[in-house]
Each structure stands twice: as structure tokens, then as C-alpha cells.
């Protein structure tokens, strides 16, 4: 079922949690709401669910398909909601938790107890927890609890599934597994899902499209691929991954920063360039276009790449570079080694320089 938000805003008292927001979610999409804490992503999710009411002024609308649900109570919106800390009914067994939604249906439409039992067992089978049907939530691990809460939310076969930081409280490995499993479930059962996360990796890996938010505003809505390669503004760029800063002044096509020099194709004046860690190449000698001496201060081989921390007199904050294991061995990287950094490419968001970093601009 498609979800359409029109002009949805929210104030808590006098503080604004959401600026008027518009969002179109297509039927069957898996959407990630990504942003730092306080960006309004959870508020937006709770408004979609009906757990929070949007401001009356300006009047916004929420549509599920053709159905206007703006003034519909949560219990009539027929959504599945998965809470960050599971919110399982602690005095009920796993079975009773999953069956809850079915047992509270009005007597007329309620399935028989036999049907309920069959359906709950099917759901528990789906989340691979049939063995634990008679356990209490406190006897389960975090990952198991989250699977129970998913089964509970899916028991009423909702067409919209909303998840509030569903994997936030789990350890890295379980998280990875549950992510893959949710993706699989989503494709199989074909509901529309919206999930909230502050983890950019999770958002990029799981979503069809990502909604990046900050300060109650939507900054960008795009596919993970587009988002990463073509961020519309500096916030999105910085939030989606590690960033190295290079500040200096350009003169005659050369950016100078202390004893570092980089040939750039820019007009004269103060500039700030941004680089991703994988866009920094390490070499034993400077190139004609780039003379940027650095010292290796830390090396950590993490997964497929080696993360190298770099420092230099001309750098305010240390840089981070990721190099392939092959290059790491070829260069024979050790701590304290002196090398040259060569940017493969860089990014700049000149319009926002003045708004995001006013202080540096004054001193520059």
C-alpha cells in the first residue's frame, strides 16, 4: 500500500520537531529514514503510525493508498509497528505475545482459537522460534525478542510495517543477520515498510530509497547509490560516511594549505574540499599535481580494507584513508612512516560554506 504525506509538521510545546514535510512512498517499497538523533525521524514514523498527532496548523494529510487516515486512530490504521526495545508484553509467553492482536479482535471477526493457534505457529516458524513458544520475553536474547516482536506485528497481516530503530540495541553480527532476514521477508510478503535508523550503513544496505533527515527537515530522498555518489548538500555528504577536510586558499589554480599544495580547477579565494577515505591515495613520492606530505599515526586492518590515520602540520584534524591489503603490503606501511597523500577526487559544497562553518571563514 502506498503512503503519502502532505504538509506534515509537528511541534512539541514551542520546539519544532518537524517542518512541514512531504513524502511519497510507493506500494511495496522499503524506505529508510536516516538522520542523527533529534532529526525528527522517529517523530515522523510515529505520526505515520498514528501514535503521535501531526500539527493541526498547517493542516497536513496522510494517505494510505486512497484512504485518508489523517484523523484515524492508531488501532484502526492497520499498521504493524516494531519498537526499538521490542516492547513485548513481559507477562505473556512468546505465543501469547504473537497471538495478542488476533485475540483482541472484535468477537465477530475473530478467528477461532484453533485458527489462531495455527496462524501463530506459522508465524513462529517463519521467525524460527517455534521451540520457544512457551518462554517469557525475559528468557530470550535481544535478537530473539526482536523476532518475536516482528512476528507479533505481522500477525494481523498489515500492509504497512513501521520499524523504529529495529536493530539498534543488538550486537553487530545479529544485526547483520536480522537485516538480511527483514529484506527477505519484505520481498516475500510484499508489504510497504518504513524503518528508522541512525546507522548510515544499515540505511544504505537495506532500503530501496533512503530519506535523509536533519533538524526536522528532509534533506534528500534517493536510492542508496545516488545518495552516496551525488549528495545534494554537505550535510548528506558528511552524514553518509567518514569525511576528510582540506581547507586552504586558491591562487592561480593551486590550493595551498601550509606546506601542502594541490592543483585545482577553481577560482581564486578560500576553499574547503571534502574527501572520502577511499578517495585518498597513498604514495611514496609527491606527484606534479599534489604535494601533500603526511605521517602515518595509526593502522587498523578492518575487514576488506586497512584504515590508516594520517597527520600533518598543515592538517587541523587527522585524515582517514582506506587502502587495499595489497597496497598496504606493497607500501610496507608502518606507524610513523612519512608518505604523500594524493586525492583521487574531491567534493565541495561552496554555497553552504558560510552557513555551516562561519567561524573558520572569518579567520581564513
Amino acid at each position: 500500500m502506498s503512503i503519502r504525506l502532505q504538509n506534515i509538521a509537528k511541534h512539541f510545546g514551542t520546539s519544532r520537531a518537524l517542518e512541514p514535510v512531504n513524502l511519497d512512498i510507493r506500494d511495496g517499497e522499503l524506505i529508510g529514514l536516516l538522520g542523527p538523533s533529534g532529526s525528527g525521524k522517529t517523530t515522523l514514523l510515529r505520526i505515520i503510525a498514528g501514535l503521535e498527532a501531526a500539527d493541526r496548523e498547517p493542516a497536513g494529510r496522510i494517505l494510505f493508498g486512497d484512504r485518508d487516515v489523517t484523523n484515524l486512530h492508531v488501532r484502526d490504521r492497520r499498521i504493524g509497528f516494531v519498537f526499538q526495545h521490542y516492547a513485548l508484553f513481559r507477562h505473556m509467553t512468546v505465543f501469547d505475545n504473537v497471538a495478542f492482536g488476533l485475540t483482541v479482535m472484535p468477537r465477530k471477526s475473530r478467528p477461532t482459537s484453533g485458527e489462531i493457534r495455527a496462524r501463530v505457529h506459522r508465524l513462529l516458524e517463519m521467525v524460527k522460534l517455534e521451540q520457544l513458544a512457551n518462554r517469557y520475553p525475559a528468557q530470550l536474547s535481544g535478537g530473539q525478542q526482536q523476532r518475536v516482536s516482528l512476528a507479533r506485528a505481522l500477525a494481523l497481516r498489515p500492509e504497512v510495517l513501521l520499524l523504529d530503530e529495529p536493530f539498534g540495541a543488538l550486537d553487530a553480527k545479529v544485526r547483520q543477520e536480522l537485516r538480511r532476514w527483514l529484506r527477505h521477508l519484505h520481498d516475500e510478503l510484499n508489504f510497504t515498510s518504513v524503518f528508522v535508523t541512525h546507522d548510515q550503513e544499515e540505511a544504505l544496505e537495506l532500503s530501496d530509497r533512503v530519506v535523509v533527515m536533519s533538524n526536522g527537515r528532509i534533506e534528500q530522498i534517493d536510492t542508496p547509490d545516488t545518495l552516496y555518489r551525488a549528495p545534494t548538500n554537505r550535510f548528506v555528504f558528511e552524514f553518509l560516511g567518514d569525511v576528510n577536510h582540506l581547507e586552504g586558499s586558491v591562487r592561480d589554480g593551486v590550493l595551498t594549505c601550509g606546506d601542502a599544495r594541490l592543483a585545482v580547477d577553481l577560482a581564486d579565494g578560500a576553499e574547503e574540499l571534502l574527501l572520502r577515505p577511499h578517495e585518498v591515495e597513498l604514495r611514496e613520492a609527491a606527484t606534479p599535481n599534489a604535494h601533500m606530505p603526511v605521517t602515518v599515526t595509526a593502522i587498523s586492518p578492518v575487514g576488506a580494507e586497512v584504515r590508516v590515520e594520517l597527520e600533518a602540520d598543515w592538517l587541523g584534524e587527522p585524515w582517514l584513508a582506506t587502502v587495499r591489503h595489497a597496497d598496504y603490503e606493497r607500501l610496507g606501511l608502518t606507524r610513523g612512516m612519512r608518505l604523500f597523500a594524493v586525492p583521487r577526487r574531491w567534493h565541495r559544497f561552496p554555497d553552504e560554506l558560510s552557513t555551516t562553518k562561519p567561524k573558520e571563514l572569518e579567520s581564513a
Binding site: A49, L51, V74, R75, A87, F89, R90, G101, V104
Partner: protein, 275 residues
Amino acid sequence: MQRIGDAPRVRRLLVFLALAFSALFLLLPLVAIFAQAFTQGVGVFWANVSNEYTVAAIGLTLFIALLTIPVCLVFGVALAWLVTRFNFPGRRILQTLIDIPFAVSPVVAGLIYLLLYGRTGWLGSWLDGYDIQLMFAWPGILMVTIFVTCPFVARELIPLMQAQGSREEEAAVTLGAPGWTVFRRVTLPNIRWALLYGVILTNARAVGEFGAVSVVSGAIRGQTNTLPLHLEQLYQDYNTVGAFASASLLAFIALLTLVAKASLEWRAARREVHA
């Protein structure tokens, strides 16, 4: 290496002090009450307990407690619900107001009620026009008893409900449960032990209340005398055995309360181990 508090001499001294204090100030008086009540044998004890006025006092005391508990229960749950689940202007003030009955001396509470609802009081004189008398009758006793006991249930529930949060209730609502079902199947099971505990405390206080009741009851033997008031009268009449017989009844109710409380705590602890 020694852990903190492991010094044997200090530990023994502290244990001794705690035990001596408990025996001297708590256990001995309790034993003394029963001993005094039975000094002239079981027959005299029974004669005093089955005395017409004593029986009436017991009846009135239980009657008041029986009416007080449901009122405090409903009031306490509603108040705790309101304070922990909603945000509204005046929420903090309300939380402070709950404590007034604890802060105010019961005698003062009784006097205030007398002033308001007595025959010459502001509301009392108006009610008197309709021939309704609240003070010096059981309704007055009930009113002040409710006043002094109303914080117990709410005070037990508020911290618990605050700690539990409203996520489970929200989950129930997203699953389509109507409000009453949410309360009955999610909220109530989570607070039941605290609720029972609150009721036990309410009962103990309702049965034992002296100060506030003594001001508004008028202490008419056989009519508006509760057990604590009756006890006081017997003592003033130099009927020591009678006084202690009544006292032993009150002590017995107190002991029952303690046993009920202990078993509840034991069950709650056992549940935690199992859960």
C-alpha cells in the same frame, strides 16, 4: 583481601545493635500487648472482645476499611495513570498534592473536615439544610479515612509505571486493542503486585487510623467508635485488660498485614527469578 564491611568485629557489633534495637523497641511491645490481654485468662479476654461495644467497634472499623479500599484503589490507579501516561500543565503540582495527606498531621486533617463539613461549617451548614449530617457519623469517619489513605496506592504505582513506560500499551494499541482491553490485559498484569501492596498498606492505615477519626467521630459508644477509639476509651476507664484485648485485635490485624506483605514480596521475588 577483605571486602568493605567485612571487618568481623564491626560486623558483629552492628548485627548485635540491630537485633537488640528490634527486640527492645519492636518485638517486646508486641509480645507485651498479647501478654497483657491474657493476664486474667482467656475467659476475661473473650468477655472483653465479645462485649457489645467492642463488637460494634470492630464492625465499624471493618466497614470503613471495606469502603475505603475500593475508593483508594480506583483513585490511585486513575491518578497514577494520569501522572505517568499524560503530559499536561499542572502535572508536577498534582504529584506534589498527592503527598499532602502524608505531610499533614491527621489531627489537622480531621479539624479541617470538621470546619468544612461540620454543622456550622461552610459546606456543612448548607448540607444541614437538607438534613444531611456528615460529621459525628460514619460518613465523616469514612471521609477522613479516605483522606489519610488515598496516597498509598498512587505512591506505589507511580514509580513502577514510570519505570515501565508506555511502550507495551502503545504496542497493544497498534495491534488494535480497545482502551479497556489494553488496561485489563497489559497494564493491570504489569502493576498487579504493586497494586496489592498498595491495598495492604491502605488497609493497615484505614484500620489503625486514630488522630483524624477521633476529631470527627464524636466517639459515641456502639455507634461511631472505631476500634482504636474504643481502645482509648477503655484505657481511660481503667479497664486495662479490655484495652489490651482490643489492642491485641489491632496487633493481630497488623501481623496479618505483615504476613500478606511478606508473602507478596516473596512471590514477586520468585517471579523475577523465574522470568
